[in-house]
Symmetry: D2
Subunit: 479 residues, 4 copies
């Protein structure tokens, strides 16, 4: 039982660079700022005059490259890198990206963030035709499609393959003489392009990596776009024009780093506006505002400013939590031993607290934090969530593919309030969310994917269609 | 040049427990919450029916106990633990505490936080009489004094030894049948006593550890006090009555965790009050408040509330910074590559920023952060420091023993402002600091040690006297 | 330059088991006794009720399974394992076997010892048809051939694939319900079948593994044979009848462990007979016999007994040589610092020594050992080699694929003698070798492959044909 | 139950050097050849212009210095090193040598091989006078005695201290300007001096280290001698003249490397003579001779040559046995799984075997090897031991301090034969042993310590006297 760990997992982060003598090292620093997008494993693949080299392993980036020799050997002026999210399932170094393929007539590197909705059927068909996959990861499918395409040009093969896969994806491909970036037709996943002082081009899941490597943002990759980066610079092309922007709103709510900008909107600022809007929608009396660290601190700032209530550090997260192999036993946990989050009784005692969190998945975490605050002396705990109720699965890159685990798929707000032991529970409205983010676009839903709040999906679900429809019957929908 | 790391180092954290079957494991959890007090090394010593056992090593606690077997073997119902701060100097496992001594007629464990002012002369005298030290640490001296004391009782020996050493110290001693805690006559270092539900007694450098292990605070150890904890409970005794409370004010300003209480004052609340007071003393116009993460976030909250300016997340610290073996080369650093702290241009661009920090040591860090903010588009950066100018060394447990490295020992405020490139520079007044902390006491300076601000020392300096007086001549005093 | 390491590398060792609850652990012990066949990496794949699981990594077996959890998770009653030899080239975990493939309709594990002669052309053709290889190892080709075969039955696919590949190979395949062992049509590589007390069937590159796991030898796998092992026991089948026994004679001379039996002949006994025969062919006067440890000790015993000269321990190999990260610098080496092999001056001083070694590859090692013996006081050093002159490459599984590195491909015996600084040099005759081994068979060359001595190859060379013929022109043949 | 590991443990190996720029690295290579004398831990201490530096840790030398940086930092032209033997008891890095002490007025490094017989009483007295030991090792006592001596000169203090300790010892001491070697008055432990080509002086427990570092043997250190090595060369002095040579005969029988010379006698040659003498004392008929690897191979050579029986490799030791964390379970062991030693059925089947071993301690190992040979088909197994029956403890440096574990202290030869399941059992006679070794001396017992065979001790036993006399009553003496 790990109440501290969010049950939402991002499907990875990617970073690429073309044109710098320290390409692999800069990829390391870029990935370092994307570490929050994946902690299961990491890898970097470099391109030294057409020769691909790679190091990858399980663990945090700093563990994977604990021996600097593993980075030093990744010579060359271009590189791509990947951090992979942690799942309980098939943890194996074979699934750590970038993938690297060496053929008699060429080489191919590949890094992917997202989730394909027709992966199962594509893989089955490929295997029936003799394909052997080296991983259990869907990401590898694109390589097989490219190699089996009969299109005469390499970019023709790539476009054909990109049109075959469905779902949410941001792909980086490395071949001998170019780096290619591609985004799905809905732009579900973020992907931005930047430029360094020496002219090197960088691509990253988040713009926070640009700050770290000293690059300037040029623009975000557009839905349906394939971007070719080589010694001649950047070429923007489209593999499809049948596109509709639907950026994952959970990137703004929870995943992305506050200093990143997505589609021109700063994440911290969006969160602060969500907090302010939440304050306007909030109907209760309270003394202080307490954000759940770290993801809800921006929203708490916005809520406090809008409501006029003081913003207090009523919860403290241990800064040194990443890796410990010693955990409290169940018995010690019952005796009150907790390692990662503490309520500050000196702050909350005798107070009516508005506890700001970004989302509720299973409800377990929220229940524990409410309990912590009450044990520390809070007289009332009003839970205010900076996003609407999460009631439907995501098939485009967030690791929730069943409704079973979602408390809001199975309970009313009042039931949830009771389960988590709060004195009140307020979710942000969907309109409030869309307005707070405020992408400058005319696309529906303000250019956002809000499917997990509404249950209305932006695209056909392909391999997931059947099981999703079945799940709708099992779970009453409250939203 | 590591501008991100504070140049102030705390001299360690200690935790002890008597009366719980999981004593070593609870000590692990307690130390886990004290990790911010020392990252060079860690150790735990347990007492299994009179038999002392120990494991210690260099590195973070989680690294030292990466193999759970090393913790499992520390059986027994009592334990003491230690985290040691990082210095450039003599890094050796021999200096990692707790120390453990096995004699033909008994055993002794020892953990220490603080700095002795007569260590050099005591050590020299002991060695002249044949003593062999197993470490280069001053902490070991107490053990030699105890063993050489001719007092017939063990507690008599301990008291005699405590009266021989001078300076700042919080000591935990473990012998076969008791755990002993002792504090220096000024109470420079924090040390608190708590109790678990099962009756086990815990002692900790900070009360945040009590939250983590599920213990309740009983009271802080008093200056000059020696506390004996055994199967009969707690006995409070004094080894001296010549005491005067002078708690290290830097504990409130920077070292301690915001959720800890020292002498009845919550650290976060004290910091928020410092921020509010700083806002009152601040004389400039600005648009937003930005705290330097993580230590200055409370002060920023207080400043924002008092001033009415919005509190913004204009600086982001990478959460995954603890251990990386890959660092930017000087060349990459000049190209703008930085790993640990980013300015959020989406937040600060075009704004007049009040940058709140807790203190300035050498000025290097402040200059870099001001520069980051300006590069990110801030039009003005007003630096406001939540403490007075740090102009004198500390001899009681903070790792500043020379005036050379202190920018405020050598420059006026206006000079410092210019050096760090700020548009204005405001220090909190000493009175403002004392009022903001507000310990409930009649002792001078509100029961605080503010010697590093005033240059007037609470006690004789013994071995440091001569070099300190010389240093006064070298450095003009501005404060 | 590491003169102590033999330049001959075996292409791996395999071990498999069906029908024991501790299958993976027994595979570990089996591989442990095959460690001499490969030290670059190791892996074990288990079959738990049809579900394949695997752990593999670079390093010695004991390093790969340093964490026992990695072995414990390999549950199931069947397993295959592999140790891989060390090469300078492409050292990557991707090439460590067993390979494991998971399809939508089945699973496949694969371990291989040997070298395919048509691998390059097969791989190229497969890739042209869209195949993607997950390693740079030839061993993987068999899996692709099986998956692309249109034969309706699985065993039909396997036989078709085995008939497509050429060269030397011993393959172990694991699928859901069976373990399959296959040997090339010449039986170049050794492969034996054994049985445990509980009825479990084991397969191993060498019979020494049977001693270790407590199994009894049943029989060796025959050339062209495919053996199916499942819950019904053992089924022997042939995928081809076009066979001719040609066991690698270097297995007897150098690779195999002295306690193994190959084709009914004990390796130590064969070596002792080679030594005795060498003594009969030796024409010089000497005082003592000194074998180069460890591989030439048996031959030295045989030589001593036949010649009547005393067998002495005139050379000592450090027992703790496997892994050291500290090596003498060139300068220290010139000052006489040497780590792995010492000459015993107390034994050889003033003596005419017959130095017995198993083979000469580049001559560098022999020259150094002769020099060691002379520096230690030997008055004469007569080098006697327990095998004929190694003058041609091997394409069936020994890592010598060019003539450039072979001293005997480029020099006469007299020239070699001078190069290595010996007082005389005697090679065993080819007939003497064949007679000494003495397999009970009517096949040509006594059922042995002696191609690297004669240059007359047992099979067509396929992809190697062209480069081999070219090399013949470059190097004068003396043998 | 680990039948493969000898129950006899040597008390460490030491190596020192003065006058070479690569002092620490040469110490590494020297220790590398002494690794057989201790595998629990290792350390090296260097002297860089008077500044002592050290690295030590648990594990094999190659593990302790896995990170070359740990060796590189040991700069300076002088060094001492130590390998420590493995015991079940107090395994702690605190006990790993060399010890290093830093005083306000000097520094001291110390490495020790041997066992003191008055350690307990000396330690108690020192502690009563306030001494604090940093280890549980007796070796540290010398440092305390030196520091507490009132002799005005350092060498005077050292001599006084050496005269205070009793038992068997070879000490290396390092101070700012000299390296000191000292040997006990009986010369129980071996200690030799050599010289490198550049003039550097080396000291080593065994001469095999001289071969490895390219040094020439000068002479062995004499009993009661203290040797001072500094920039002026070597000075030989005596701290006592009350001496009598009694070299540990087990060094010749089992501990030392075959290529070492002790007191002018080559160890391999001595063992071969023991084997030959054993053949003369052997009264049975047999077909082949099989030595237990690796320690008994020399004796087997001698036995075979003297008896005319063929010497065969009937037992094989796995070369890769040093470190495995996976062991057969008891159940697997009963099923015949064994990892370290195999009998070669192809060699011993149907044969009457003379199994040569160097000694019998508990009998367990011998019983298992006899059983292995019989299971492999030997029709008779005649056990011939290259030393007399080991019936008494050693107090001078071998880890047998109680008679309980010695099978020969409790059983007659016939009983032992039956316990180990042999067809006959022959021990070498004590006179045979002394003659075979043949040191050129007039001292009693040929200058050898044979106390563990005779029970008549060369010196008073001090702290061990009482328990030894008691043990005599408990155990009937057969020898």
């Amino acid at each position: 039982m790990t109440y501290e760990v969010k049950s939402l997992n991002e499907e990875c982060g990617v970073f690429g660079i073309w044109g710098h003598p320290d390409a692999a090292k800069l990829t390391y620093f870029g990935l370092y700022s994307l570490q929050h997008r994946g902690q299961e494993g990491a890898g970097i693949l470099s391109n030294d005059a057409g020769q691909l080299k790679r190091h990858r392993d399980m663990g945090l980036l700093s563990e994977v490259f604990r021996d600097p020799a593993n980075l030093d050997k990744l010579t060359g002026k271009a590189a791509i890198g990947h951090v992979r999210y942690a799942t309980a399932g098939e943890a194996s170094v074979d699934n750590i990206q970038p993938f690297m393929f060496k053929f008699h007539d060429g080489q191919l590197g590949l890094a992917h963030n997202g989730n394909l909705t027709n992966a199962v059927s594509l893989r089955r068909e490929l295997e029936k035709n003799g394909a052997i996959f080296s991983s259990t990861s869907d990401s590898e499918i694109l390589a097989h499609l490219i190699r089996r395409s009969h299109n005469p040009s390499f970019m023709g093969k790539v476009k054909e393959a990109l049109n075959t896969i469905k779902g949410g994806f941001a792909y980086l491909l490395m071949i001998e003489d170019k780096l290619i970036a591609a985004l799905d037709p809905n732009g579900f996943r973020p992907l931005s392009i930047g430029k360094m002082a020496n002219g090197a081009i960088v691509v990253s899941s988040e713009t926070c990596a640009f700050e770290v490597v000293g690059a300037e943002w040029i623009r975000d990759v557009n839905p349906g776009e394939v971007v070719i980066i080589d010694d001649n610079g950047i070429t923007y092309d489209n593999y499809t024009t049948d596109t509709q922007l639907a950026v994952c709103s959970m990137e703004y709510i929870y995943f992305a780093r506050p200093d990143s900008n997505i589609r021109g909107v700063n994440v911290h600022t969006a969160r602060k506006r969500m907090g302010a809007q939440l304050a306007r929608e909030f109907k209760h009396e309270a003394d202080i505002v307490v954000g759940v660290p770290n993801s809800s601190l921006s929203a708490a700032m916005g809520f406090a400013e809008e409501s006029g209530l003081p913003n207090e550090m009523g919860l403290i997260k241990n800064q040194y939590t990443q890796r410990t192999f010693i955990q409290p036993t169940q018995e010690l946990r019952e005796q009150g031993v907790r390692m990662k989050l503490s309520a500050v009784s000196g702050v909350v005692k005798g107070k009516r607290v508005v506890m700001i969190d970004d989302s509720i998945v299973r409800g377990t975490t929220s229940r524990r934090i409410v309990q912590l605050l009450k044990e520390a002396g809070a007289t009332e705990v009003h839970v205010a969530i900076g996003s609407p109720a999460l009631a439907y699965p995501c098939f485009y890159g967030i690791d929730i593919q069943t409704r079973k685990e979602l408390i809001a798929a199975n309970h009313t707000v009042e039931e949830i309030r009771e389960i988590i032991g709060a004195d009140s529970l307020t979710y942000l409205s969907i309109d409030g969310l869309i307005d707070s983010i405020g992408i400058d676009t005319d696309e529906p839903n303000g250019g956002l994917c809000v499917d997990y709040f509404t249950g209305k999906y932006s695209t056909p679900l392909y391999d997931y269609e059947k099981s999703y429809l079945e799940s709708l019957e099992e779970h009453t929908s409250f939203y």
